[in-house]
Every structure is written in C-alpha cells, then in structure tokens.
Symmetry: C5
Subunit: 355 residues, 5 copies
C-alpha cells in the first residue's frame, strides 16, 4: 500500500468536478430489485435503464463495479438526486471513511481491507442509501457482494421482508468482517517473527518487522474512521435506520472496534518485537566482542614474550646480553611463564563470568 | 495466549449463524433455583427440562459449562427470548467484553483471566440476566462458579432473599477478582526480574521481559473493556439493577479499575526493565572493550619494540647496522624502554579512569 | 521553515499597534465586485477607492497581496469596521490559524503550505468576511487566488448567484487543498528513503530522515489549528454561513482532516524509518566486528606459534634449548599445528553461525 | 514499595468479610470531642465506650491507629451505620484512593506518602465523615494527626467553632501536604544524578535512575486518584461540605495538583536522564574504541615491517635473498619507513578529528 | 531553574499562616490612581496610607515589588478584604498559575518567564482585581510593569477611561508576552544545535540538548496552567470582565496558546535532536571500527607470514627444515604472497563497500 494513494484534483478545480480514473477497470452495473414476495436481478449498461425499478414499492440495489465513466456517474446522480460533492468523493478513491447525511438519503464511504500476495491494500466502497434504494460503488476488479446477492436469492433470513437498512447492514458487515481473516494472517506472521526472535534473529527480521509496522500503520489510517461511520448509523439521529436494524448495526460496530483493537495490539506487539530485535543485536555484539577480547587478551601478551626472546642481542662480551637465552632451563622457563600467564588470564575471565 | 484467538464466521455468513466449536469440551447444564425460602439444584441434558422452573416466582440460574451444541443453545435462546446475535457471540468465543441491553434482559460478555502453567489466558463468560433468570456460559473445562453455589446452599449473606441482580453481582465479582492472584504472581515475576537486572542480567532476561510484556498487552486488551461493562451496570439506566445492588457493583467497578491500573503500572515497569537491560548490555560491552583496549594498548607497542630487535640487519661493514644489538647494556636498555612504556600507558589509563 | 517565525512586538507595546514588515514585498490591492448579473475587476492603490463598491448590493472582494503599509491597513480597517487586534494579527505574520467572530463579520487566519525548492514553508492568509464583503491578505509574492477569480470571470458553478460565504469557501478550499500535492511529494521522499533503508542505508540517510521529521513537525504545528477554524465555520453558530454552503464547508473540513491524518501517518513512518536506520547501523557494526574477530582470532594464535619458534634459545649444552627446531620433521609439525588450529577455529565459528 | 501491595480475599469470598491483618500493629483508639466551647480527649479500648459522645451536639472524632480487630471494626461500623463494603476496604489496605457517598455520611480512602530510610512508601488512611462525627483509620505505627489535635487543643483558627467538614479538611490537608517534603527530597536526588551525569556517570547511575523511576511510578499510581477524591469533595453535590469550607478544599485540590504535576515532571526528568546516560555510555565506548584503533593502527603495520626483516632468508647464493639486510644504510632506512608510516597515520587521524 | 522551587509550610501548619521569605529583597509599594480625567502616582511605606485612594471613584493600582513583610501583607489583606489562603499563596512563591474567584474580587497567580544569563527562570506575579482596585505582587528585584505605568502616564489608548479590567489585561498581556523573546532565543539555540549535529556533533552536544530539554520541561510546567487562567477570565462567568475587554483577553489567550504550542514543538525538536545525536554517535563508532578492522585484517595475516619465516628451524640434515628460506627466489616469493593477500583483502573490503 502506498503512503499517499488518494486521487485529488489540482487545487482550484470547481467543486463537484468528475474525472475518469486512470486505471482502466471496465465498469459493470448490476441491479437487484426485491421485496417480500419478488426478486429480480439484471445487468445494465446505462443508468437510465433502472429508472422503472426506482418508482416501484421495492428495494432497488444498484451496484457499480470498477471505474464508471463520469457521464454514467453523473446520470445516476441526477436520477437519484445525489450531491455533486458525494459523487466527486466516489470517483476520487483513497478517501477516508465517512458518513454524511443529505436530506432523504445518506452517503457512506468505507474501506474494504484486502490481503494481496505480499501486502495489504484497501479498496474504497461508496454507498448511497435512501428509503427504497441503495447504490454501491466498488473500485476493485472483483465483486465482493456476491454472498449478499446469494442470500437474497435464497431469501435467507429476514432480509427480503425488510427495508434497505437491512441491505445496508449486510453490505457494511461484509466489508468490515473482511478484516478478520486478514488480521488472522497478520497475527500469524507476527507470531512467526516472535518465535524467530526468541530462537535466533536473522538479518532480514528487521525488514520484516518494519514492513508489518508499515502495513498496520496504513491499515489503521484507512480503517480507524470506520468506527465513526458505523457509530453514526447506530445513533438515533438517522431516520433511515429502523430500531430493529439498529441491533444489527450495533453488532457491526462491535466488530469494527474488535478490528481496531487488534490493529492496536499488533502495533504494540511489533514495537516490542523491534525492541527485542535491537536488544538481541546488542547481545550478539557482546558475544562477538567477548570472543575477540578473550583470544586477543590471551595471545597478545604471549606473543610479546616470544618477541622478547626473538631479539638478536648477541654482544658476546656483555653478560647483560640476553643471558636467559643461554640458560640451561631457559626454554622450559619461558613455557612456564606462558602457561602461568594463560592460567592467570583464564582465572580473570572466569571471575568476570565471561563464559 | 495467542495474538488472534477469536472465532469468527467467513465474511458473508448470515447473522445469527451458530456453529459447533472445534475443541470438544462436553457441555454440562446446571440449574439452580432459589428464593428466600427454598433452594433447588439440578443437572439437566436438554434445555426444555428447565421450563417449569422459569415460570415460578424464584430466581432461576442456568449455567452452561463447556461447548454446548448449536441446537441446545438455540433451544435455550428460544425458551428465554434471547437474540440470535447474542447467541452467536456466546458461541464464537474470544469476544471483547461488552454489555448490551435487549428489552427485558441484558447480555454481558466478560473475560476471566486464568494463570496457566507457563502463561496467562482468558476464558469467555457470557451472561444473560433477566428479572427472574440468569443464564451463564463458560467456555473452559472447570466450573468457576462453585463458590457462589456454595454460598447459596449455605444461604450466606443477603443473597437468597434478593433478586437476580445480586446473583449477577456475585458472578461478575468472582470473574473480576480472579485477576488479583494472577497479577500478584505477575508482580512477583517482575520483582524477580528487577532484582536480577540490578545484580547481574542474564542472556534470557531479554526473552522473559518480552514474554511478560506480551502477556500484559494481551491481558489488557481482553480486560480493558470490562471497565465499560461494569460501569454500564452501575449507571442508573439499567432497570434490572436495584439501587441496593448498585453499591455492590460500585465495589466491582473499583476492583476492575484497580486491576487495569496494576496492568498499566506493570507495563510501564517492564518498559523500564527493558531500558535498564539495554543500558546494562551497553555497560557490559564497555567493560569488555576496556579490557581489550588496555591489554592491546599495553602489549602491541611492546611487541613492536621486540620486533625491532628481532630484525636481522647484520652487515658487519656498516656501523648503522643495528649497533644497539652490540651495546654492552643494550638488552637492559630495551627493558627500560619497555617498562617506561608500560608505566606511561598505565598513567594514561589511570587519568582516563579506566579502572 | 524556521522554528520560530512569528513577528511580534516588544512586550508592553499598546494593543493594536501596526508596524511595517521588514521584508519589502510591494503590496497590490485587487478588487472584484460581482453579483448574479455583473462582474467587475479593478486594481487600486488607496483603500478609499473601493468605498463606492461597498455600498452596492454586490459581493465585494478586496485582496491585498504582499506587505501593505500600516496606514493602508488602518484605512481599510476603518472603512469596513475591522478590529485593531485583528489588523495587528494580519500584519504580524506567523500566527496560528484561528477563527474569531466580531459582531457582523468574522476574521480567520489560515496557513497555506508551499513546497519550496528544498523545504516546506507556510504563508499566512488572513480573511475578513461580512455579509457582502470579503477582505483577504496574503503575505507571499504571488497571488494564489487567481483560479478563483478565473472561475468568477467564467461564471462557473453556483458562485456568482450566491453570497460571500461561497466565495469564502472557494478561498479556504484553495488554501487547504494546496496541502495535497505537497504531501504527495513528501510521501514520495519518504518512500524513497524507505527503499534505500531496505536496500542499503547511506551515511546521510540519518540527516534526511531528521529533515523530513522537522518539516512535518513544523507543518503540523501550522496546520493543526485549521481543523478548528473550518469546524467553527461548519457549526451552526455562524449566521454568515448559509445551510447550502455548509455542505461545502463540510467537504473542506474533510480535506483538512485528511491532510492532518496524512501528516500524522508520515510522522509515525519517519519515526519507524529512524528506528530501522539505527537497527541497520547496529547490524552493520556487528558485521564489521565479526570480520575483525574472525581474522584476529584466526591469526593471533598462529602468530604466537611462529613467535615461539622465532626465539633464539641456542644453548648448545642444553637438551631443553628448543629441541623442536632441530627435529627432522619439526617444520612440517608446526604447519600441522597451524592447520589444526585453523580448522578448530573454523568449526567454532561455524557452530556460532558466524557466516 | 512493592509492586503489588494490596490485601485481598480469595475470589468468591462473601462481600463484607473482615479478616485480621497479618502484620501485628496493636491498635489504639483515640476519641476527641469538641465544639465551640468545650474540648475533651480520651483513649478507649472498646468502640462501645464512645456511644455517649455521639449523641451530644459536638463534633466527635474517633481515630483508630494500627490494625484493629475485625470485631472492633464491626462494632464501630454498627454503632455509626457504616457499610460492610467500606469496612472491608478499610481493613484490606493497599486500596486506590476513592470517595464514596453513603446516604448521610461519606467514605474516603487516601494514601499518605512516607519517606522511609531508603525508599518511599504509602500508608492508607480511611475516613468516614458524617454531620457530627468523623472516624479515621491509619494503618501505620505512628499517629500522623497529632498536629491537628494540637491545634484543636490550642483552639487555633476557626476550627473549633465549625462542623466536621473543617476537621475533615485539616486531616486531608495534612495527608496531602506530606507529599511536599518527600518530593523535595526526591527532587534533590534527581538533581544530584543530573550533575553526576554531566560531570562523570558512574556504573550504578543506571540503577539509581531505575530506582527513582520505579518509586515515582508507584507513587503516582497511589496518589493519582486523590485528585478525584478532593475534587469530589469540592464539587457542590456533597451536602456535608459547607460553602465556607469549600474554599479550603479548593486549596487542598490545588496542592494535590501541584504534587501530581511534580511527579509527572520528575518522571519526564528521569526519562531524560536515562537517555543521557545511554548517550554517555555510547560516547565512552567511542572514546575507548578510538584509543584502541589509534594504537592498533599505528603499531600493527610497524610490527609487520619489523617482521619482514626478522625473516631468515639467507641463501648466500641468491642476490634476492633479503639484500636490504646487507645494505649499508638498511637499518636507518627501515626507521625512515617506520617514521614515515607513523607520520602518515597521524595525519590521517588528525584529518578525521580523532583527537 | 530548580526542579523543586516551591516554598511550603511544614505539613500541619494552620491554613493562612504568613512567613517572611528567606531571600531579602526589600519591598517597594507603588500606588497609581487614575480615572478618565486624573492620574496620580505615589510610593508609600505602610498599606494604611493608601486607604484614602480606595474610597474615591478611581481605579487604584497598588504594586508590591519584592518580599513584603507578613505584617504589611496582612494589613493590605484586611484593608481590601483578601482571603488568608490567597495571601499565603502570594507569599509562598513557586505556585502553579491559577485563577480563583472570591465574591467581589478575583485572585490570579501567573508566572513571568525570564531569560537569565545561562538559564531560564520564572517569577511569580500575584494579582487581586476588584471593581475599582488592583493589587499586584512581583517576587523579583526589578519592576516589570513600568511600560504599563508609562502608557498610563501618556494616557495612551483606551486605558484611562475604562475600568480595572483593562488594567488587568495590560498586566497579564505583559507577563505572557515576555515568553516570545525568550522562546525566540531558545529557538535559536536549538537551530544552532541542529546545524552542529548535521555538520559535526561535539562531545558536549549531548549535555546542551539535555539542558534545553530540562529548561523546556520546567518552563512548560510553570506556564501550562496559564492557559486555564486566561481562559477563565475570558469565559462569561466573571462579572468583573466587561464584554469589550473580553476581546482583549481573547488575544491574550491566543498568545498563551502560541507560547505553549512553541514549547511543545521545541520539546519534540529536542527529542529528535537527541535521536539524531545517538544515531551519529553510532555512525561514528562504525567508522572507527571500520578503520580498525581494515588495518587489522590487512596486517595481522601478513605479520603471520613474516612470523613463519622468522622461525629458526635449521636442522641442516632435514630437507623439511624450512627449505623456502634457501630457495633462490624465496624472498620475492614471500612478497608475492603478501601482495596477493593484500589485493585479495582489498577486493573483499571493496565488495562490502567499506569505503
């Protein structure tokens, strides 16, 4: 995930300007229309096609997958009376999650966390919910809402007999719960690093810890405001959400908190891992230096002793001219000195507990 | 304790889906039914058996120990009018503690800290409390509520003559107070590490500090929300809790705060221990390097001096050809130079306060 | 950006004292006057010239670019009834952003972030907004509001038919959105440092991380209070802002939050980079020391062995006088000892996983 | 001060159970009874003895010093209508400070900081205050309230003519102000460590900093909640505290804040001292390594040079067999090489600013 | 500035006890009495002398410079009806800033930051303000309020025609604005350290950073509560402050916030400087060790080689007795080995990018 991945217009652009996204994911428009007794599903190409469904006494769900053209988005916006600033935020992905009330409908932006091959990323989901309609935009390539459609087809649960608030709950629940398998995977990576650090840290442990830290930092930034979004839906001031649905949003809020809580815990854990890594690097340096010091301290004095007797003082007239070299037990005496030095130093090391 | 130990359904599952837990702890259902004058206790196998007790004017306490089957949980839920989302949270253990009001009853999740053999873990306790009934679920193998049952049997205190709120208080008090012996044990481990660090840090001190940090981090995550749960019971907006019982819940809240306070203090303490460990590793490196430097600095110049007079310049025609070797006092002179060098260096070290 | 870049009067100066700024940027006064049907634009030299426009039923926007003289500012203040303390803050640049209500008009100070050649700086913008007038002061050399004037000339959007609140929104939006390209650039610098640290840290990486940290610290200080300014405009207690304009200020607030959020994320990221840098320096020290230790530990004992046999014990009468030197296989034997020592040490290093 | 020093009952004990403390400090009961005109003081052995004083229109202050027996505490509680949970907290010392209202009286727990010989500890003071009585429990050996009794005897100040709220203020003021001399002493220890670190850090500086950190951490934990206690007395919702006394409690609150403020400042100061200690250890390591490197780098190459000419190549037939040894100026030439090497290395060190 | 510099009485002293300060700065009493038409200034020795001025319909400002005697303070207090606790705080300097309302007058303590020769300190200013009088106490030697008196004499601004609230504002503004030149000086010291760290850190940089940290820590402690004091004056609940003066106190509040904001920024900056210092010390250690390692690794193996051929194996009967020494090209061959070793090691270092 990039540090900065928000699309924005050059400062000074008129508010409500819509511009085609650069990445070319062909859009797909999917309409689902249902009430307690009937269910219809249809793909369409122009927003105008869904106008007949909107007037009927059913819940109409229009899902826009991929990057729709500015014209299509604007047409959809005019059809349903959506605000230009909301449509701009829908197209400029990389927004913070937020919830905004616009008279008869609400507008919510959420981020769906996705576990990619070697990193975590988020995909923006924009939701417009009115009393009898729901419009969802998803910036990615694959449609994440198929399980909801499947449950609608099977008429599972209390879905079909209720209003758009239950549908809204189902979509938001799906987006938020996508965090659980992802955080389970991250948790396993942290556990693996933890075990590695206790056993034997490796050179790239540092880089792995940093990468997890970075991913958690960015994930937290993109998910943290979701707490406020779900809390806003839960509070009593949204007429759209019926009291019966509110219990379900309360469950959603609970999951949001659990996910943010896990992210915070993981962040503290990685901070602790890094501290332990640094402590272990220091420890290792101590080990290395201890070996160097023991070896050097043992042999450097001995080499000095042998150096003494390697000197060539040989004035035959002088009795001071290295008489040791000519002693009968000179050589064994030197060995005695060497051995005594070694023993002395070993005792010194032992006292300092260097092994 | 694992970093991620929450059970969850695949995203997109219908809300209220109940699935059997993987770990096979055979469930046990225990019913206690009492009022001011009578006390009955019975084990049962199907939730339907406790129906007769529910209608009577007594407090009926059903305790489910271990992993009940989805069918039994659903039957119990229907018998008492419990919400499907609450039952789902009861079966998917690893939840954050929370308190939820459902019309005529309240639902609370608490975590009971347990000191295992070499680590700390928490066990989820789910409580449903209505005016005349209380249902408790505990995920572990052994029943923690036996002391309450014992007090009920002995008709100790003001228990038996009061409503289910006093029973609820007794259970929650038991769960929360389980933290005190556990934190006393952790405190002793920290004190031991503290003493070890002042006296002589060991190689694995680093790992022990990290383990305590990790345990405290996870424990805090699982216990922190309990503050809000008990506070919610204490506040005036729960009709279930009578004013007389509220003083007892205030005591409970006090204990919760004390436990969280201790956890925070321990966390700061372990952070301080780690800092001290790192400072002591640095100190130790300094000691090692000082010894190496003193020895090397003493003997390397001396070895050079002996090297000089170990050279074989022996052009007999040249008066420049190492005349020192042939001086009468050459060898004692070299020793003088060596001793002077040693003294000079020792003075240098002394000035730098290297011992 | 300097740590302290506020202009202030010596303590004890009378409140409302106006003093010419030291940096000589010649001021420029630009007047724009428009309503739903007409648009006029004019430069003027003395504030008195704009008096006729003020009485008309149009929105009158006076923009002061550069450092105006105290006399001109005071004249403008008297013309429009601006408070002496507000005028003092307008001239003493380097203020914190703030919003103040003065009876019939509001006074806002904002900071516009600018990406200079090798650093980030902010320029103070002061805004006075009444029902039918708007006065803006900008301390820099170039006029940042030309895009707004261009949109007014083209009569783009709903601008021209609305009051001064829409004009105020346009100016504030421009100031705040200037943060996005700037933070995109900073984000790229952080990404580059991140890659450099994973691949191979350089000596000056430390200085670059510190510089980014410093810039983000100062940027946050100058932008953080803008949140409160825009929030103050958004709340219902400012009669000047009509409900229709409030949705636009909500969008502004959203952008302010996104920018502050990015700054916080970047700050945590640079803190993490510094930690990784320190860990990598420690790692590198370990590598260096390992090589030193391996080489020293290999060769210092060998040098001792050769030193032994370089001694000149040559008492021909003594059988103890280095008999090895005269052994038939003495020299190959020494090589055997050397090779055995090397192999032993290599096995020791291997066991410690030193490569 | 121990990390965990709270007395608690095994989980599952009935609420309100009273158990004799293990440490045997014989209790002492002291009664003071006064009003505007009279003053009586008496020691007693059984709580029942003070019953006659309670009914009179005087302020009756019963002070229990040391560890009273459960029976005496229970009798006192029944005499004055004290709640069983409050009595339990009174006997189980090591509680957090707290304030609780019980109908006609209030119950407060405070911690009195005491500067022991080599560490800081706190002693629990429990206070029950009604309209005409005050009961105080103090767990230590010596009575800290003698100065108040002395002032009562001398009828100093406005004491004697007022109600129990002035007495309560005097006791709380005494407990809280005990923090000032203690923190003055801690401040002096920190100043001494600061000076030591600037001049010359010692080996045990690390341990001293850690000990002060630990003491401040525990002190803060035990004193922090006192802020809420005094604030609770200060707020208007306690009928017991008359408006005239409230100004005195405001002064008390002020002192509480000053003490907590000092503790926080000291904590930041010790954190800064530890950072400086670590920086100074690193600096010192650099110094040591610089000396080692300069000496090694100077002499190791020189030793190599002398090693060259210590080799015994002496094939008289070969002109390649170390001809230097037989040059006329061979030996002075070697000295030239040595001196040139030394000068070159010294210039190199100078350039790197190694001295 | 000392860590602990509060004067306090021994715990147990009666509230409102006044004791002469130890440091003997002879007090000076200065009276200023003015209204819209007249201005009188007079020094006096006994508080009773100012009694006639108090009854007149003028603003009477009594300034007490230095350490007044307890008797004079008590007399002044009785003359104006000041509370004994407020007088005690006035004499016991080193208080936290605070604002207290006493019926018809308010009492404020502020700290005036002063830049001494080599450190920062604060001086306590105590202010009592009633409808028609103002009493100020300043503990230092020189009178900081002369500029206000000068403006009063010149009848500058709207001073003289207004009540004591404008005078109070002028004094508080002077005290608070004293922070700006001081923080400008601190900012320059930090900038200088920053440049030094980028260029070349020095040994005492560590101590300088620590000293600035300490000064900022203490300064923040003494100034932080001033925010609440000025905010308290600004809020509507003080009858003394007229709405017209409130705008001026709002400006004061703004300056207080700016100063605290700067202190926080400086604190983060010094923390960042310390991190950079530690990183630079580590870097420098790496440099030193690299040089040591390169030199040692180059010459230690070479010395071993020369050691080999310095051995004295000279059994003339043995063909194994160092035949190399007698080879025709033995000596050049050794040089070849030496040069090859050096080149090999240089390539190894090059690959590791050690230069």
């Amino acid at each position: 995930m990039r540090l900065f991945h928000k699309r924005y217009h050059p400062p000074g652009t008129s508010p409500g300007t819509l511009v085609q996204a650069a990445t070319p994911i062909a859009p797909r428009f999917r309409l689902v229309d249902y009430n307690g007794t009937q269910y219809r599903e249809q793909d369409f190409t122009a927003p105008g096609e869904c106008r007949p469904y909107l007037s009927a006494d059913t819940v109409t769900w229009i899902h826009v997958q991929g990057n729709a053209s500015p014209e299509a988005v604007r047409e959809l916006g005019e059809l349903l009376g959506l605000h230009e600033l909301a449509l701009e935020d829908t197209m400029n992905t990389g927004q913070r999650p937020k919830l905004e009330a616009y008279g008869d409908h609400i507008f919510a932006i959420l981020n769906r966390p996705v576990l990619g091959e070697d990193s975590i990323r988020v995909e923006q989901v924009s939701l417009f919910a009115g009393a009898r309609f729901l419009v969802s935009f998803h910036e990615g390539a694959s449609d994440p809402f198929e399980p909801v459609r499947e449950r609608l087809r099977r008429r599972a649960g209390l879905f079909t007999s209720r209003g758009s608030d239950y549908l809204l709950y189902s979509l938001i629940d799906l987006i938020i719960d996508a965090g659980f398998p992802l955080l389970e995977a991250v948790g396993e990576r942290i556990e693996a690093l933890d075990e590695q650090l206790v056993a034997r840290p490796r050179r790239d442990t540092r880089v792995h810890i940093h990468q997890i830290k970075r991913e958690l930092l960015l994930l937290r930034r993109m998910l943290w405001p979701q707490r406020e979004v779900v809390n806003g839906l839960l509070r009593g001031d949204q007429a759209l959400i019926t009291p019966g649905a509110r219990i379900y949003f309360r469950d959603c809020y609970d999951h949001t908190i659990q996910i943010l809580d896990l992210i915070e815990t993981y962040r503290e854990m990685t901070a602790s891992l890094l501290e332990m890594y640094i402590a272990s690097v220091s420890n290792r340096l101590n080990d290395i230096m201890r070996v160097l010091t023991v070896i050097s301290t043992l042999f450097i004095p001995l080499t000095f002793i042998t150096g003494i007797y390697g000197m060539n003082f040989d004035n035959p007239q002088s009795p001071w001219s290295m008489p040791e070299l000519r002693w009968y037990y000179g050589y064994p005496f030197v060995w005695l000195v060497i051995i005594a030095t070694v023993i002395g130093l070993l005792v010194f090391f032992k006292r300092r507990k260097w092994w």
